[in-house]
């Protein structure tokens, strides 16, 4: 296989933004995107007229076809580069990759990447859950009454069987990320939780309970990508892309090649190779955490720990701010926000902020290199990226 062309140090993220998060009934999904985009653009010091590319993902709550064009129309932007990327939760990282490629090849210079939905108030809880049923195969999975938590629960169950991962270790992931969310002023969840509360929460699909599952939020997130040259003289401290890679193995769980080995190993390998860095160089990681089992698997696949050691890493507190490798310092999708593709996008937003520094009690001291991993489907589509505050 040919090594992909390097995107190292070609582009920088120069502005990040989050909308109001939680239950925001006075705003539409597009409005949440616009609010996040405006905040990201203001931070960069760029003007709307500088945006010549726009990427967005998809929405379960609003009835628009061609969401990319719809968002441009709403924002009053006429770009020469635009698409809607539908790689589920992997979309934000994949969008960053498309943006980097477009800028590196001169198709655009400044790209707005945006995602978000009013999933908490734009749909009833039941409607949100049934919309998400479509993630299961319509003919060979859905007739059996599975659910997204159920599919991930089967992955958790297999991990517990093969590696001896404990129920309590899954719960530690939720406790850990909640503790981080309490240090984030805009996080959806504002109250601490205990291990007992996670273990005793309403059961959803064994072994997962309510607090092992991500939130349903109203939220939008955005970031502005431009060329490394253009980034030099802007208002904000640029954060440079060092490496990025993706890998896709299946869509439906019944077709997954394995329930313990997914595509993060390959996407991570490509990203590390491009960056010329390894797991030992990473100071902070923002890992996709739609369910508590997922960051455990990602820690293992991305080489931070050996297979089967992810659960203990969380239980022993190594993933806390101040620990060996702080994970999901904003609170992740379990406690900060989850609204469609915005969930994984906030991992990128937080990585940028950590690398710029100055986050007070949330700051990972001396953070120079951050890794972000997004996954979509049922651990089907993977994209890993490595960012740094210096060209390295």
């Amino acid at each position: 296989m040919k090594t992909p062309a390097s995107l190292k140090n070609k582009i920088a993220i120069v502005g990040v933004g989050e909308s109001d998060i939680g239950k925001v009934p006075n705003m539409t999904g597009l409005g949440l995107n616009a609010q996040a985009a405006k905040r990201a653009l203001d931070e960069s010091g760029l003007k709307v007229s500088d945006i010549d590319g726009v990427l967005t993902a998809y929405s379960f709550t609003e009835p628009y076809f061609m969401l990319g064009s719809v968002l441009c129309e709403y924002l009053g932007v006429k770009p020469r580069f635009n698409a809607s990327v539908v790689s589920g939760g992997a979309s934000p990282a994949v969008m960053l990759k498309h943006a980097a490629e477009a800028i590196a090849s001169g198709q655009a210079e400044t790209i707005l990447v945006c995602a978000g939905e009013n999933r908490a108030t734009g749909l009833t809880r039941d409607a949100a859950l049934s919309a998400l049923l479509a993630v299961g195969h319509p003919y060979f999975e859905q007739p059996y009454g599975g659910s997204i938590p159920g599919y991930y629960a089967m992955i958790a169950q297999r991990h517990m069987h093969v590696y001896g991962t404990k129920r309590e270790q899954l719960a530690h992931v939720a406790v850990n990320t909640r503790a981080h969310a309490l240090r984030h002023p805009n996080a959806h969840m504002k109250r601490a939780i205990t291990l007992e509360q996670v273990l005793e929460a309403k059961p959803i699909a064994d072994p997962l309970g309510m607090l092992d599952c991500c939130l349903i939020s109203d939220a939008g997130g955005a970031f502005i990508v431009t060329s490394a040259e253009r980034a030099r003289d802007l208002k904000s401290k640029p954060v440079y892309l060092q490496g990025i890679g993706e890998y896709h193995t299946h869509e439906h769980l019944m077709c997954a090649p394995s329930l313990t080995e997914f595509g993060a190993t390959e996407s991570g390998k490509t990203a590390y190779q491009m960056a010329g860095l390894g797991p030992q160089d990473v100071d902070v990681a923002q890992l996709y955490d739609c369910f508590t089992i997922v960051p455990i698997i990602e820690l293992e696949e991305l080489g931070f720990v050996k297979p089967g050691e992810g659960g203990a890493f969380f239980a022993e507190g190594h993933a806390r701010i101040g620990g060996k490798l702080p994970v999901n310092t904003h609170g992740g999708m379990l406690s900060h926000a989850h609204a469609g593709a915005a969930g994984g996008l906030f991992g990128i937003v937080e990585a940028v902020r950590q690398l710029r520094g100055g986050l007070g009690e949330r700051q990972v001291q001396g953070a120079e290199v951050a890794l972000v991993h997004n996954e979509g489907g049922i651990l089907s589509s993977h994209c890993t990226l490595i960012l740094a505050n210096d060209k390295g």
Binding site: L129, L133, H137, P143, M154, M254, L259
Partner: protein, 135 residues
């Protein structure tokens, strides 16, 4: 209250022989005539070698539980009355994996590695859905 019925199988050009066989209480899977690879989800070509020379073969109808979950909150309202119920990934004797429920009085005691055998659940109008029970 709206009455929700369980989903009935939907046949399409890829899967009609599968659902027709199920109506005869047979579990069939796809086999590639070129490379002999077996696969579960029926499609137009072999996902291994892309040959379009495929045949249907009868599966033995036995396998093991590769993983499972006990669903305690159904996402699909049609299943709400059935909770708790088991959704499992079955590794067929022949190799491919498929999803199914584990049915039977002892279903909730299921464990990974349990031997299971196929059974067929009536979903109305003569449509039968392949299911499994502990062997």
């Amino acid at each position: 209250m709206e009455q929700n019925t369980l989903p009935t199988p939907v046949a399409n050009a890829d899967s009609k022989p599968y659902w027709d066989a199920a109506r005869e209480r047979r579990l069939v899977i796809r086999k590639c005539k070129a490379c002999s690879q077996l696969h579960f989800m029926p499609r137009h070509l072999c996902p291994q070698c892309w040959s379009d020379q495929l045949e249907w073969v009868d599966a033995k109808g036995t396998g093991t539980v590769h993983s499972f979950t006990v669903v305690r909150r159904a996402s699909d309202p049609a299943f709400t009355a059935l909770v708790p119920y088991v959704v499992a990934l079955i590794e067929l004797e022949e190799g491919p994996r498929m999803m199914a429920n584990i049915l039977g009085a002892d279903a909730l005691e299921v464990k990974i590695g349990d031997r299971v055998k196929v059974t067929f659940e009536d979903r109305g109008d003569g449509a039968l859905l392949p299911q499994f029970q502990r062997a």
